[in-house]
């Protein structure tokens, strides 16, 4: 087939400019409603559970999961499904263990919860470090992915793409704060779910709306193996370790956790997880279908010919089924997808810098409202520019490990301390700091020594640490160290405050 992918596409540019115009108009509207810290970090807690569910889905479903998973399914078949399942299973964990206590206990960041009974300055320093490392690694991976994908789709130079993405994300967050970010995420989620649904309907129409027909044509063309588990899970320990990192990492991602402060209460927080899980799960089922559709209707040779990783499977399928107009629309949706995710990450990173580090540590909690908003905006600018630089520095590098690292750090440094601070009376400041640092250092060091970096990036013949993702070891160590150090130290003031915390956790008395 002839494809126009990679050429300047007027339809894509039109849809993209339309998206930019609408989102900038929203940012202008939001800017007038973003003056206080509560407005900047938490959209004035004015978002409903349903809206937040969509925004969470928009915050979480990255271009990498849309284009990447559809591509993986189209080239590897069933293994792509195994991979996508791992990205969903953290959401029920957020629901059962984290969402409501987080909303009841905190104000703007998850560090608020960890520091609730404990010594503010050491906790906020450690937790902010965990947040910032998670955000920066995830953000770098997104920026590099953005530059590469936009270059593939629009034929725009890599650096130009990274700068455009960076500037737009800074504009949304800097002027419109959480309110603008939320609406960018909601619009993106609706566009992405709508676009993917349309793509699936058009695909199934080719097979008389019969999944069996789609699968049997895929099996005829690529063999029965295409519908069976292949080489993705060979070492069970490896698969368990990655599974743990994905599951509990999702429950420790600062930009996801932060979204729970945008709803008025714990009940809405709970509702929003239900909607988000539904939307994200539905989306992964769609991408599975899109991947199979692309394998049959486009063909692996053409998909791999354009991009070895298969990233263009979904856009190619759109081109085959809906011509240039649908391709242009989907390319613009992919662009929007990237923007919504990086905006959420930037806001989370900025809040860790301003709310936790500047106000909590440097100003010891004493800071005027106006000053904090100003600092948060400066932090947004610093973080945004850093992200653009990191995107350009890592051009052409293999950054796949960075997503793994972000989830490993989130699961090891952020989640254990957050969870123990909610449920365990004897948890102490020293225990929390030790737990966070253990998780952070172990996750980082072990991933460098793992096959993902030591072999794939540094090209050494064999890894020093055998597992591809260190989640199993680093998360367990963070729990063990946190418990051991807490038991070896005592903090009567923290124990005394536990009753009040417990009441707030379950009933929400005093929640902001």
């Amino acid at each position: 087939m002839q494809t126009v992918i990679g050429q300047t596409n007027p339809v894509a540019i039109f849809f993209f400019l339309l998206f930019v115009a609408v989102t900038l108009a929203i940012t202008y509207w939001a800017a007038k409603r973003t003056r206080t810290t509560k407005e900047f970090y938490a959209a004035g807690r004015s978002i409903t559970g349903f809206q937040n569910g969509l925004a969470l889905a928009g915050d979480y479903m990255s271009a990498a999961s849309f284009l990447g998973i559809a591509g993986l399914v189209s080239t590897k078949g069933y293994d792509g499904l195994i991979y996508s399942v791992g990205w969903l299973v953290g959401w029920p964990i957020i629901m059962f263990l984290i969402a409501e206590p987080l909303r009841n206990l905190g104000k703007y960041t998850f560090a608020d919860v960890v520091a609730y009974r404990l010594n503010q300055r050491p906790i906020r320093s450690a937790a902010a470090l965990g947040s910032i490392i998670t955000v920066l690694t995830y953000l770098t991976a997104q920026m590099v992915g953005a530059g590469t994908l936009i270059k593939l789709m629009f034929g725009l130079p890599y650096e130009v793409a990274v700068v455009i993405v960076g500037c737009l994300m800074i504009a949304y967050v800097l002027f419109g704060g959480m309110l603008a970010t939320t609406w960018v995420q909601i619009i993106k989620a609706v566009l992405l779910l709508g676009g993917a649904t349309l793509l699936v309907i058009l695909t199934l129409a080719q097979f008389g709306f019969n999944y069996g027909e789609l699968f049997s044509q895929a099996a005829q063309r690529y063999g029965d193996k295409f519908l069976e588990p292949g080489g993705l899970v060979t070492n069970p320990v490896d698969a368990f370790s990655l599974g743990l990192a994905l599951m509990f990492g999702t429950a420790g991602l600062p930009h996801i956790l932060m979204r729970f402060y945008t709803v008025p209460n714990a009940k809405e927080a709970r509702k929003s997880v239900f909607y988000a899980t539904g939307f994200i799960g539905y989306f992964y089922i769609l991408t599975f279908t899109i991947g199979f559709g692309a394998a049959v209707l486009v063909g692996q040779d053409i998909i791999k010919g354009i991009d070895k990783g298969g990233n263009m499977a979904a856009p190619l399928l759109a081109e085959v089924l809906g011509g240039n107009i649908f391709l242009g629309f989907l390319a613009a949706v992919a662009f929007a997808t990237i923007l919504a995710v990086v905006a959420g990450l930037t806001l989370a990173g900025a809040s860790a810098l301003s709310h936790d580090l500047y106000v909590g540590v440097i100003r010891k909690g004493q800071s005027a409202e106006k000053e904090e908003v100003k600092v948060a905006k400066v932090a947004t600018l610093i973080l945004g520019i850093t992200a653009i630089f990191l995107g350009i520095i890592f051009k052409g590098q293999n950054v796949a490990f960075m997503v793994g690292l972000a989830f490993a750090v989130a699961a090891s440094a952020n989640f254990p301390a957050l969870f123990m601070s909610i449920v365990w009376k004897r948890f102490t400041t020293k225990g929390a700091v030790a737990s966070i640092l253990t998780g952070l250092v172990l996750a980082t060091v072990l991933i460098i020594l793992s096959p993902t970096v030591w072999v794939d990036v540094f090209k050494n013949p064999s890894p020093i640490f055998p597992l591809k993702n260190p989640g199993l070891i680093s998360m367990a160590a963070a729990f063990i160290v946190g418990i051991a150090v807490s038991l070896a130290t005592r903090e009567p003031s923290a124990e005394a405050k536990f009753e009040e915390e417990k009441l707030r956790t379950y009933v929400g008395i005093g929640a902001e």
Partner: protein, 101 residues
Amino acid sequence: MSKKSAHEILEDEEFKSLSKQKDTVSLILTLLELFIYFGFISLIAFNKPFLASKLSGAITVGIPIGIGVIVLSWILTGIYVNWANKKYDPMVENVKNKIGG
């Protein structure tokens, strides 16, 4: 609210039963989710032939199971919301009233 009244509420039977029920429900659902996902991973690791066996036509057993993990995860969150709306929220209201009164 003084610290003593917080203490009194914590000793209150109704609060005790509320927090205990919430912990139990959360724990059971979390364990179920872990079982579902790691059960799926274990099947892939230890019993590939089962997942590769044909269900009907070209469709393998693994496809509905994989999709099933996604759907079940969502259903579990629905079960939790349903429980919380019907059972948990009224208990929370009762305890709140006790503090107010």
